[in-house]
Symmetry: C2
Subunit: 187 residues, 2 copies
């Protein structure tokens, strides 16, 4: 369900083909959702069957033809209605947290190694978000659209910072076997 809306939102911001959508979802700015190309092509044909998007066949030379998808009035209304609804927030569902909550089942060194790997991944992701963020910040006259995308990016950055700070806390905790400390930099 949410994937359809994510697609609708992406197409509302910028009409494109299924192939381009895949790239936007998995590589670049729209990094808050992911989906395989199979899933996306399926969702696109459903959305078109429901009348929320239309496709225009683009004939190309020296490469395969493609379909350019555009949001219809019906699609826009569908999207607008959804934005106005607030769903219940969902649980974190993080592998790492499950692993840590049974950390006593393995040697501390194992846990530290696993933690380190996640730590580095979060730092990587933060870096890529900050890079995009810089591009937005440098725009002299940002469009209203891009301001919203910048805001969403800010959330991503805050999430990564929270994970990174926590990894450091956890590694510190595991580094010297101590009791639960009351202080820490919780704020």
């Amino acid at each position: 369900m949410a994937l359809s809306y994510a697609i609708l939102a992406a197409l509302f911001n910028q009409s494109c083909s299924g192939y381009d959508l895949v790239k936007r979802f998995n590589k670049s700015v729209e990094c808050f959702w992911s989906a395989s190309h199979q899933q996306i092509y399926k969702a696109l044909s459903n959305l078109e069957a429901e009348g929320h998007i239309v496709s225009e066949k683009i004939e190309q030379e020296n490469r395969p033809n493609k379909k350019l998808y555009t949001v219809t009035d019906s699609g826009r209304q569908h999207l607008q209605r959804w934005i106005g609804e607030a769903e219940a927030i969902s649980p974190i569902k993080s592998d790492l947290l499950i692993k840590l909550s049974v950390g006593h089942a393995v040697p501390t060194i194992t846990l530290l190694q696993t933690l380190q790997t996640y730590y580095e991944q979060h730092k990587e992701r933060l870096k890529s978000y900050q890079l995009i963020s810089k591009q937005y910040a440098q725009a002299l006259q940002p469009s209203r659209e891009s301001q919203f995308q910048y805001l969403a990016l800010r959330a991503g950055i805050r999430q990564q910072l929270a994970w990174i700070a926590w990894c450091e806390e956890a590694m510190g905790f595991l580094g010297q076997p101590v009791a639960v400390r009351e202080s820490s930099s919780a704020s």
Copy 2:
């Protein structure tokens, strides 16, 4: 896949019935994953077929019999192996971020209302995490197990704090003075 491990981890910490697992997953401390009872019963029977857990039939008076599930040696090893592996981190997949990234499609007031609802939910969740956290912190001699659970909880707290701070940033950006209402729970 991850659900099986989450169940294994929960049972490793404390053997219990499927019914009790549902409660532990959806209500209380193990609040980092969620699953319906149908899903959990299914996963339990799979795990038992694979030999990772065993069930003991508990006969009860005045109420239905139940099955007490316990992790086997094989199950413990399976879990330990998994803890040592580090998967790739996954995208945020937040409805709210999708909504915000096409915020220009609706009137600002609509977006603010939606944001406010998420904001309150995150504050609620933070409160419940902090309540559990306090119980851990008050334990005079915390077990090694509970220290790990406390650490996982710290991650949950940091996540909620990040969301809350971002909601305030976003609401501020959208031109609404952030009303810092201390008790928004009764709304």
